[in-house]
Symmetry: C2
Subunit: 421 residues, 2 copies
């Protein structure tokens, strides 16, 4: 679709989203769930049409010379279509956060004061090639009572538009406004610029994609951004660790998946246990094809280890590469994390109560773990049901962001005619 | 104090704050309380010195032609000094939010997941003439485990510096770093610009002052801002209101104090009760010196009422002026609030269960009330203990911001060696 005046088009999208946001903020839990389930059916029923449109994107992508990896992410297989529908059914099954009142208690004046969880309003989401984000984001935003404006990558425009039509069908069937989920219909890059300026229509921006995209959006946006930057995650093996747990966790945190933000990038090992755990770990890493880069003390223990440079400590590899550093003690480990970490997810392996307690309190990361793999830092594993992303910000939402992060709280006051004296 | 290189000075303040922030984030509740109580004693013991320095500010203010109202706000009387000390003691008596773990529960994988409340880090506060903000803000930030950088108005520089010395004395007595509370020592305006740029040292900015100041800071800041803009608060008197409660609340909300953000600025009245409640209310307002500006229907009931213009509905008077509008029903009232309100505090007076329930859910303001005066929207009245301000933002903190708004939460994960499969 060619849109002549992008600014005018985006303004119209924004004002319709604001209006729809008010309606879905008041929608019953039943209506929202009905819409989610109807969207799931529409996606399943539309499988052939979805794959036809997806094929157009894939063909265009091949002609533009997209890499095989990107083409793979873009492809909507039968299994991926089924998984989108299943995701919507899971969101329907989650408890509705909207309207929950907590901490309601009487004050000396006689008023009752509590907090009610309420939608944020309108959420703008800017993302790259995976079309499943269209469906996941639409479902989460709707369940949390928000309208959303979705801006996917140009390489997925046909896939996203056909998914949008399934989403609209679901909304219509439940009597909710179709404008509650709008997928931007133009690939013109100016649309993103307009979206980031519409602070009267959009309450929060969630970018999903590479670090470059996120930094650009954050710099440009006039609207608050819930963002995810680096995931430089650490595992620290204390000298009071159970060696078996330590080896299992350090291996899993690095190798269970390489290209994810909660994978370990640097392993820290107490000097008194390094000679015991590093050789067996190195054997396992070698079998998994992981390249090791270590500090001097590490290289003394592991003959085939490359020396690490200062840059290694500050790099999110997202690849089968691991930096290893031997430290003197817990404080040395925490200093390293404080200096080089990205405040995403960090774990200690220890059986020592006091050290576990210190690590939990003192490490300033969005997830802090004792005796567990960093790979658990995930909305589903945490019981949030699903996630719109993982926030590395401190304000509002920190760590995996589920339905709750897409809402806010207002104060409610119940009285019998109280006045202030 | 003359500072040659403001940028260098502010960088040094920032890096010291970051370091001190790490220390106070780990300080025990006991040490923080000891510091707060010692600050209170230092302020009481320093009364004469404080008043001498305050006199220098007052003298300079008179020479610069500050208004009587501003000079009054600047004056540190015995009672105000006592009240600052008392405020610190109250903060010491509040529960420590730092380290509180909530929602800790087992997941199917065997890990336990919960959330721990943690400090934000470093808080920058920019404020105008009242020197008591120096003490309140320092106390709240410290109790929440944060370091702070305070930038008061140039007209209060000597008062703020002497208060800073009392604060430092308290910190020192408790063995906490004196740089945990830094009051900027220069009146050079460039210091504010520098503060707003130091995103590696400062986690959040809280401006306190007029709307102009806050808009300027928000536009300029590279750091997230917790801000308070307009307070255009409404009371809606429903036709099913108890008239006595309605009159008491509408009178109190307007007249208990005029210049505050939670005072009512527009009164909305159902058409079927207007003729009953408006005349007695108008008599009371007249006695209190309140000027009334009404819609056509209001002016038909109240002979001496001035006609309101469209601008009146969108004005925060902060003065003895009230806009009054007669509406057809609850929806008419909520539409008016949605269109003209500032999402601060709005109240309904009704005995009707369903309407009360709708108003609570559907009005999108930071405080929504049934049968209570808008004047209750206040951290102390809500039981937060004290407030750093009232946020009209939606993200992170909304409504009165106490200790909790100066903290965030991280996820904590406790395991026995779990790995992800």
């Amino acid at each position: 679709m060619t849109i002549e005046n992008v600014q005018q088009y985006m303004q119209s999208v924004g004002s319709q989203a604001r209006r729809a946001g008010r309606q879905v903020s008041r929608a019953t839990t039943g209506a929202k769930n009905q819409a989610l389930l109807a969207m799931a059916c529409a996606i399943e029923a539309g499988r052939e049409r979805i794959q036809q449109e997806n094929a157009r994107d894939l063909e265009a992508g091949r002609q533009r010379g997209l890499s095989e990896a990107l083409l793979d992410r873009l492809t909507l297989t039968d299994a991926r279509i089924e998984s989108m529908a299943e995701g919507l059914r899971q969101i329907a099954a989650l408890a509705d956060p909207v309207g929950e009142i907590t901490d309601l208690s009487y004050r000396p004046s006689g008023i009752q004061v509590g907090r009610m969880r309420v939608p944020l309003g309108v959420i703008g989401i800017i993302y790259e090639s995976r079309p499943n984000v269209t469906v996941d984001a639409a479902g989460l935003c709707l369940k949390a009572g928000n309208a959303c404006i979705l801006r996917g990558g140009s390489e997925a425009i046909h896939s996203n538009q056909v998914l949008a039509s399934c989403i609209r069908a679901g909304l219509e069937q439940a009597g909710l406004p179709q404008t509650a989920v709008q997928v931007v219909e133009t690939t013109d890059r100016a649309a993103v610029g307009e979206l980031l300026k519409m602070d009267s229509f959009v309450d929060v921006i969630v970018p999903r994609g590479g670090k470059g995209l996120i930094e650009r959006i954050t710099a440009e946006s006039k609207i608050p951004v819930i963002k995810h930057l680096d995931g430089i995650c650490h595992v620290y093996i204390d000298d009071r660790a159970d060696p078996d747990k330590a080896i299992a966790i350090a291996y899993n945190a690095k190798t269970q998946r390489f290209g994810v933000c909660n994978a370990m990038e640097t392993l820290l090992v107490h000097k008194d246990i390094a000679a015991q755990v590093l050789p067996p770990l190195a054997n396992k890493y070698r079998e998994a094809g992981v390249e090791l880069r270590g500090c001097d003390r590490t290289c003394q223990i592991l003959a085939d280890c490359q020396p690490a440079t200062g840059e290694d400590w500050a790099t999110e590899y997202l690849a089968p590469i691991l930096a290893i550093r031997v430290v003197d003690d817990l404080d040395g480990a925490m200093d390293h994390i404080d200096r080089y970490g990205s405040a995403h997810t960090d774990a200690i392996v220890t059986e020592d109560y006091t050290r576990a307690r210190r690590f939990l309190r003192e490490v300033d990361s969005s997830s802090v773990m004792v005796n567990a793999s960093t790979r658990f830092a995930d909305g589903f594993e945490y019981g949030l049901g699903a996630e719109i992303g993982i926030s590395t910000d401190k304000l509002h939402a920190r760590g995996p962001v589920g339905l709750e992060g897409l809402t806010t709280q207002k104060f409610v006051v119940l009285g019998d005619g109280q006045i202030r004296t």
